[in-house]
């Protein structure tokens, strides 16, 4: 009203005033005087709220996006995962199918070889077939290697625990590689320390896999010198290696230098914990800690490749696959297997000198039970062979200590006592002493070839010796080629050559062949059987029960041939009366199908009768003296049956029979059955 700062923004409020005056109309005009200030608080607040709302919207939006994206990714991953799994399944199926396809014809080949083994063969043929079989098995094992890798990757590989003979496994692997090593002129040798027990419990297949892999690699990459495999106990190995360190570098198997064995197992935990020896001594636990070394004089492994040696599918260079073949997974599988066997694996390699691979493994002492078929077979094989040469004496002429050690090991396995001399002169001295003229003389090829005149002298000396049988002379050679070279050049008749690598079967075969023990394996076995049957049955009183006269006569004739005293009976009743204690029968062969009373019935009655007699003797009702001092009567009864069916054997055992043989008699089966009870029969003979 009174000022000048009138804001003319058109906003005016007019109010009527009424003072009560009828002549003057009053109005009040209200106007804004000043501009309104900006409502900062409101603006700030609202814009703040707006911003916050926007931000929250943004976050919300982003979150939703993210969730959507993650879900999409997840779906995609699930898809991919399904595809990957399908691919994996397809891969395994492919591997299985392919390997099955390959294995089937391989098994056909192996099956045929197996059948070939059952025919008439001489020792050389048998040896060849055995080697072919081993090669076939090696092929199958190669396929299995690939499968193993797949198994390892999916964590499904397990070790089994059976009883096995380590030396036999090494023999087998030796056979596998003997051809190859002889071709290449590389000397292959295996030495197992005497302290390693004969039987171990572990996984022989996997152990063999490791050794085959290491030996295979060594032979592949070695063109000259040697491949030397040794097996020792960890406890003795340390001492041995110290001794080795001290000997000169040319005292190895072939004279060539090798990579240091000590280095190959440096860093093994088994060695660093030597102070805790009592914990690891195998006498306290049942454990056998083995250390195996494969030493070769080959190309060696280039230094830059040494770190990748155990990586699967890695080979030193692309050219290796081309020149040597192989898939490159052997070593990685071997390492895995060694780890499963609670061991360690390591190597030392010097390029152009050679490599030495060493690994340890833990087994337990093995004790075989009778049910273990395979090991029984090996047992019997080796036992039947080594009996012939046991207690023979042999002389070995070899200047190289390590090589001689290997030969001695193999010869000793046959039960032969061996003396080693370093050269032919010393051989003369040894042979001159009367009371130790050897039956067999082994001479290393290089010793023989070095001085042919001296060799001839030695040969003549042997022939002129005053003894019943001239000692047989054998040359030990590691290559075939040298054999051929010599036979053209000399007038000396070269004695028989045994090709290394030495192994029990080869040694026995060569010795047998030259010493004339057994011309044809089967024939010899047949004669051996007849001799053994004669030993078992001579003078024994045997009852033969059969209702058929022809059968009776033939069975009696067969048993009489073995020196038995045979009594015949045609009826079950007769048999029962003849076998009433006291009687002098050592055994009874009973036909099953007979009229009136069959074999089962008769046997049941005989057993009942025997048990009643036994009871009465035990309680003193009958005097033992009246019954030939036998208080437990049980005459061995074997069933004679024309149809050998499964059911029959169960029934035989049910009614108290001790076994059964087929009609007409077959020597091998007869021997087997009779020898089973003959040791008890022995006890009953006064």
């Amino acid at each position: 009203m009174y000022g000048s700062n009138i804001l003319n923004d058109g906003m005016r409020h007019v109010s009527d005033l009424n003072f009560g005056d009828p002549f003057r109309k009053h109005e009040m005009h209200c106007r804004f005087k000043l501009k309104p200030p900006w409502p900062w608080v409101a603006i700030t607040t609202s814009s703040g709220i707006l911003v916050i709302a926007l931000l929250m919207g943004q976050i919300f939006h982003a979150t939703m996006n993210r969730i959507a994206k993650v879900e999409d990714d997840y779906h995609e991953m699930m898809e991919l995962k399904k595809r990957a799994e399908a691919a994996d399944v397809a891969k395994s199926r492919f591997l299985a199918t392919v390997s099955h396809e390959i294995r089937t014809p391989m098994n056909g080949v192996l099956g045929m070889l197996h059948m070939l083994m059952d025919t008439d063969l001489d020792e050389t043929q048998e040896d060849y077939i055995r080697t072919a079989q081993e090669s076939g098995k090696a092929l199958v094992s190669l396929i299995n290697e690939v499968l193993d890798q797949a198994k390892i990757e999916s964590g499904r590989l397990e070790l089994e625990a059976v009883c096995f003979d380590l030396r036999a496994i090494l023999d087998d692997v030796l056979s596998l590689f003997s051809g190859k090593s002889q071709e290449k002129g590389v000397e292959l040798a295996v030495y197992v320390s005497d302290k390693v027990p004969a039987k171990l419990v572990g996984d022989p297949g996997r152990f063999r896999q490791i050794i085959t892999n290491l030996m295979g690699n060594s032979i592949k990459f070695t063109e000259k010198g040697h491949v030397y495999v040794t097996v020792h106990l960890v406890e003795e190995a340390v001492n041995l290696m110290d001794v080795e360190m001290e000997s000169p570098s040319n005292s190895t198997l072939s004279g060539l230098p090798v990579a240091d064995r000590r280095q190959s197992c440096a860093g093994f935990k088994a060695f660093s914990q030597e102070e805790y020896a009592p914990m690891f001594s195998s006498s306290s636990t049942n454990q056998v800690n083995l250390i195996v070394s494969v030493e070769d004089t080959g190309q060696g492994i280039p230094l830059e490749a040494q770190s990748r040696v155990f990586t699967p599918f890695m080979q030193v260079g692309p050219s290796i696959t081309r020149t040597h073949g192989g898939t490159g997974i052997g070593l990685s599988i071997s390492r895995f297997l060694v780890q499963l066997m609670k061991g360690e694996i390591g190597f030392a390699s010097l390029p152009q000198i050679g490599s030495t691979f060493t690994f340890t493994a833990v087994f337990t002492h093995g004790c075989c039970n009778v049910n273990d078929q395979k090991s029984q077979k090996i047992n019997n094989q080796l036992n039947s062979i080594s009996l012939e040469f046991r207690e023979m004496r042999a002389l070995l002429v070899d200047p190289r200590l390590v090589r001689a050690k290997v030969s001695v090991y193999h010869i000793k396995r046959l039960g032969i006592h061996v003396e080693v001399v370093r050269d032919l002169n010393k051989g003369f001295f040894s042979v001159n002493t009367e009371n130790s003229i050897p039956n067999i003389v082994f001479i290393e090829r290089e010793v023989w070839d070095k001085d042919l005149a001296l060799s001839t002298l030695f040969l003549n000396k042997l022939r002129s010796l005053d003894c019943i049988v001239t000692p047989k002379l054998f040359l030990l050679s590691s290559t075939i080629s040298s054999t051929r070279a010599i036979s053209t050049g000399s007038s000396v008749s070269t004695p028989s050559v045994i090709l290394k690598p030495l192994r029990a079967s080869l040694l026995t075969a060569s010795l047998q062949r030259s010493m004339g023990i057994g011309n044809r394996g089967n024939h010899r076995n047949g004669e051996l059987r007849i001799l053994s049957l004669r030993n078992l049955l001579r003078g024994r009183k045997i009852l033969v029960v059969d209702d058929n006269l022809v059968n009776l006569k033939v069975a009696a004739g067969a048993l009489k041939k073995y020196g038995a005293d045979v009594v015949l009976a045609e009826r079950g009743k007769e048999a029962i009366s003849l076998l009433t204690p006291p009687h002098h029968f050592d055994a009874c062969f009973m036909d099953i199908q007979m009229p009136e009373m069959d074999g089962f019935e008769a046997t049941k009655r005989i057993r009942d009768m025997e048990s009643s007699f036994n009871n009465r003797i035990h309680i003193g009702e009958l005097s033992v003296e009246a019954y030939r001092n036998i208080s437990t009567w049980h005459v061995p009864i074997l069933a004679m049956t024309a149809d050998v069916i499964q059911a029959t054997s169960e029934e035989c055992l049910k009614c108290g029979m001790d076994g059964y043989v087929s009609k007409p008699f077959e020597a091998e089966q007869l021997y087997r059955e009779v020898s089973r009870f003959s040791h008890t029969a022995l006890n009953e003979i006064p």
């Binding site: 209702d547 006269l549 022809v550 006569k553 004739g557 067969a558």
Partner: protein, 162 residues
Amino acid sequence: MVQAIKRIMELNQLQRSFLEYTAALFREGFLDSQFSQLYQLQDESNPEFVVEVVSLFFEDSERLINDLSRALDQTIVDFRKIDAHVHQLKGSSSSIGAQRVKNSCVSFRNFCEAQNIEECSKCLQQVKQEYLLIKNKLEALFQLEKQIVAAGGAINMVEWML
């Protein structure tokens, strides 16, 4: 002198025909390895073993075959009895290595199980035939053997058969 040479040549001839005859018997399946086993059981303490066993076989088989014909002729055929007889014949023929007789017994037993009278009669005829065949052949063999022994030779079956 000439006489001696002639005799030796005759002996050779006899031995050769003996071996050929025996080889043929094995080849045609009349005999199997069990027959040669019988010769292994023959020695100085038992010089006539093979002949004795074979004669026993002939007696036994003839009796069985007669029993079989009678059993099949009955109005009510007792198959169990027939089976028992055939089993016996099978046993004895296998003991001496008369392979074809044994094989015909095997098929006879199968028809016995099936209780087929017609087939059984046929089988019986076959068994009879095989038996007569092997009887003739073995008798001829033993004749040859007698001749060889009379001419001063000996049979070493064992070495040859192995």
